[in-house]
Symmetry: C2
Subunit: 195 residues, 2 copies
């Protein structure tokens, strides 16, 4: 198979490295506050290469948001799965994982929702909807296993708590507290969801 793998000219590797840098910079300082020139110089590529891969800055932003959404969702799924089959344990694991994230010095809230708040484009709105749907799937599975009378409604409540905790943590001086508060609220809602 003719797949290049260590080469300097591997397009996939270049693209991925570029997305890594874009994710970091855009998340840390905001999409508007970082120019494509800085992304290029930090990633060690030229502007031509960036534009050949992504077409425009918007294209770069959307590609990085999509990848980020998929990764953070998979990360939460893994955390839930590792907690075993009990729905309460899985929900607890989700919020505990969030707590670890919130406590990082670089934490700035949900990158997907931040991006759509900063640039309300049709593409980002669509990506945000997909992002939230992934979360809904995760939370609905927990609600179903917990015997919720209205699993979809319960999942929506849990999603509001999750996003609310994330948003409040992003401006709070004690972000880890937001995860604990969210976990308590989520567990209470899950318990109340059985008819």
């Amino acid at each position: 198979m003719p797949v290049p793998q260590g080469s300097t000219l591997d397009p996939d590797r270049t693209r991925s490295a570029c997305l890594d840098v874009a994710t970091e910079l855009f998340y840390a300082r905001g999409v508007d506050a970082v120019g494509v020139a800085e992304v290029c110089s930090t990633a060690g590529i030229s502007k031509q290469t960036l534009y050949r891969h992504f077409g425009s800055k918007d294209g770069l932003v959307e590609a990085m948001v999509e990848r980020r959404s998929e990764r953070v969702w998979r990360w939460l799924e893994d955390a839930a799965t590792a907690a075993g089959p009990a729905p309460q344990a899985r929900l607890t694991a989700v919020f505990d994982a969030l707590g670890g994230w919130f406590s990082e010095a670089e934490f700035r809230g949900c990158g997907v929702m931040n991006a759509v708040t900063q640039h309300r484009s049709a593409g980002l709105l669509r990506l945000a909807a997909r992002h939230l749907d992934r979360y809904r799937g995760l939370l609905a599975a927990i609600a179903v296993d917990a015997g919720a009378a209205d699993a979809a409604g319960t999942a929506e409540q849990l999603l509001q708590v999750l996003e609310g905790a994330t948003l409040l943590a992003s401006t709070s001086p004690h972000p880890a507290d937001a995860a604990r508060t969210g976990r308590d609220a989520a567990l209470a809602l899950l318990a109340a969801s059985r008819t």
Copy 2:
């Protein structure tokens, strides 16, 4: 008293009109997407006048965020008060009022949190903290009257639901549903907060 009131040269009136325009434009399209020139021309004032009143664009943004925070909080307080003394009724009134807001075509989420997401400055972080504290006071009073064992903790849970509902409504095709979901979650949490 020498207060000018109808004059074209009334500084307070000019300042207020300027803040009205800034509130609308910055909220509708984002702080970065609107230049001071457009704010001035829409408000019918010159750039000199704007800079004499606010010093810089950041000053204008902070002044408009502070006013918006105070107004929306007072609006929610009034909605709760009008619902009578019962804590459940007041909490319901808060989320019903939010539902009316969410349903407006111009709704774009919480203007205060949007602003701090777009421009993470120390001033805006401070204003956001004050904004959330106002909400905490409103919700804590409800939690106390409902006999919550941990009123502050319950208020924090309700705040997460409120902000989560607002954030999700801002990207949802059915924003009013978010208010109903939030109301149900908030009432369930309030019920679960006793002992």
